[in-house]
Amino acid sequence: FLGAGGGNDIQWCFSQVKGAVDDDVAEADIISTVEFNHSGELLATGDKGGRVVIFQQEQENKTQSHSRGEYNVYSTFQSHEPEFDYLKSLEIEEKINKIRWLPQKNAAQFLLSTNDKTIKLWKISERDKRPEGYNLKEEDGRYRDPTTVTTLRVPVFRPMDLMVEASPRRIFANAHTYHINSISINSDYETYLSADDLRINLWHLEITDRSFNIVDIKPANMEELTEVITAAEFHPNSCSTFVYSSSKGTIRLCDMRASALCDRHSKLFEEPEDPSNRSFFSEIISSISDVKFSHSGRYMMTRDYLSVKIWDLNMENRPVETYQVHEYLRSKLCSLYENDCIFDKFECCWNGSDRQVEFFSLCTSDIPSIVMTGSYNNFFRMFDRNTKRDITLEASRENNKPRTVLKPRKVCASGKRKKDEISVDSLDFNKKILHTAWHPKENIIAVATTNNLYIFQDKMN
């Protein structure tokens, strides 16, 4: 039970941490995406080395009522390999940019994983029995000498140690000239979109040799290019609606029924610039790094460099809520531009949705609505939309004790630094939390630091 809004703030406790302990981070181990599946039982991560690691939650132990099941490694496989583009003499990175799970239809699990150029559909299946007693083969697979076969028998399945196999079922390649930044599965569960810097393509999950271009913002004259696509997502309920965000801070909502090529948006969401905050970096910090629909589909959330904004789909001219993630960085933008941190792409996520709570609630403020996003110094932030309270927490091994509530952090922007506060100049900008995920149903969150995955849970009484 998520707890009705207002009274019960969630108390987050450390649960687990996955990954290497040493400070020396191997480049291939850098986590590049984190995603729970639809039930929350599985948690997938992708890394810069092109690997996917899937964790599975243990079945809840009835005697252990004080904690939920732990996540343990379920499957590891190499999803993408580095490639070489001979025409441009450039490497194609194997880094996994996004993973999206398909809803489960049978015993197997399916997910889409993508690097800069190629999307792959992976089937993850379990094997816990194997046939034994073949007539023509030995147990080790060697063929028997046919002259020694004197009887017939029917092979039977016998249990074996659980084996989890991942196999690529579809490879969707050669459809993107530019780097893929997003994939999103449609609510029809048959099609999905993939977006790169300038184009968005629509695919059918069964068909790999064809995809339809639905958005193309490439100018005829590339000299005139001033804006790129940064993220895209299908609406959770309306299978003809999707949105895409841009590097100029705009979001366009498109309806595929309007025309084959959705170059003309149905809605354009853009907040007018605040003249008092104008600077050289206004455009860069307005670039949207992530866009996520709420579970209901009524709202969408965008993340730009300094803030998280909640938009009502019925109102295009400004967001309904804005939350400052790390406003103290506004005076440091020049340095952040120089060291490239200003181009960091932070993601954001909504809390899980408990349909029962939503159905029986008499007013929306009884439904918990919290958004989460990452920051620097291994800090991450949560904003409660009902109580308007926010909290800053830290993902570090120093807070290792399970069931101990995490201590809130505070950054001191200027002036006297209070005890336990951290000054802006002491922040470690190499420790950034770009990827976070929230369990679809429970208060369990996965937070990725550079090469470690932290799992936090709320304190169960």
Partner: protein, 314 residues
């Protein structure tokens, strides 16, 4: 600067670049605004210059940096101090195109003084610049006819008169060979200007002496002259292109099909986006001495003729 979390002493005076953003209209703080803008411009150039990844650079990052540069350029243009800055802006190689990796060595020596033109902005008025910034902007070496010239060629500053005369006449010769309409306009402007300055008899003699005259002028072109003239020569083929041309020129695979022996007009018209360095590589078979990218100025005059033939498609 921001580091790995090392503590530092509390600084009473904030770095002039950080802190509250100053508006350009504030009187005393206009200097710090200009300084901030300058720094950001330089940082942006460095980002485009120095990025040599094995993988393709992020298009989003490139677009945002380019927008930043454009905005600053616009501001400077409005403030009337565009031209020296424009030199720096023309130089960066296109990180996206095939030319980038080959062009880099030719431009690497240019990377060192990206501040050089900006020095002129702050310290020297335009007229006393030694660097032939006016030449750079007005160069009409034969390039793509689609590229528009910003304006008519301007009369040169008096200090450069002796050099410019032979140089401009060399340009005239080259321009006459080019079928490009923009250069035709420039030729008209140049010859009109030239006629108004020179004696009628001189200009008549000029034309028949065409080729030999242009050769001696071109040898002057190739000699390492003081100042940024080397920049002129090496970027000569690119001066008509703006920063954007270089950054966002579509990858032109026809280059890979280009055979210098078959100089059809089709190939010539597609030669426009090719960098000086690319041309040097195609010339390698023709040269008895090896041509290295860092020494583009030691070419033979015959090789220059080959270049011209190829460009003209004759």
């Amino acid at each position: 600067m921001l580091g790995k979390g090392g503590k530092r002493k509390f600084d009473e005076h904030e770095d002039g670049l950080e802190g509250k953003v100053v508006s350009p209209t504030d009187g005393p703080s206009k200097v710090s605004y200009t300084l901030q803008r300058q720094t950001i411009f330089n940082i942006s150039l460095m980002k485009l210059y120095n990025h040599r990844p094995l993988t393709e650079p992020s298009l989003q990052k490139t677009v945002l940096i380019n927008n930043m540069l454009r905005r600053i350029q616009e501001e400077l243009k409005q403030e009337g101090s565009l031209r020296p800055m424009f030199v720096a802006a023309s130089q960066p190689a296109d990180p996206l195109s095939d030319n980038f990796r080959e062009a880099q060595p030719a431009f690497s020596h240019l990377a060192s003084p990206p501040l050089l033109p900006t020095d002129f902005v702050s310290t020297m008025p335009l007229e006393s610049c030694l660097t032939p910034a006016s030449l750079l902007e007005d160069d009409t070496f034969c390039t793509s006819p689609a590229v528009q010239h910003d304006g008519p060629t301007k009369p040169p500053p008096p200090a450069l008169q002796p050099v410019k005369d032979s140089f401009s006449s060399a340009l005239d010769e080259i321009e006459e060979l080019c079928p490009a309409p923009t250069s035709a306009e420039a030729v008209a402007a140049e010859t009109a200007a030239g006629d108004s300055k020179a004696q009628p008899s001189e200009s008549n003699i000029h034309k028949p002496e065409g080729l030999p005259e242009s050769r001696t002028a071109e040898s002057k072109l190739m000699d390492p002259l003081p100042g940024n003239f080397e920049i002129t020569a090496s970027t000569g083929f690119l001066t008509d292109l703006t920063l954007d041309d270089i950054l966002f020129a579509d990858i032109d695979t026809s280059m890979y099909d280009f055979d210098p022996c078959t100089s059809a007009t089709g190939a010539a018209s597609k030669m426009a986006p090719v960098s000086a360095d690319e041309l040097l590589k195609t010339l390698a078979p023709y040269s008895s001495q090896p041509v290295t990218p860092n020494q583009p100025f030691k070419m033979d005059l015959t090789e220059l003729d080959h270049i011209m033939e190829v460009l003209v498609g004759s």
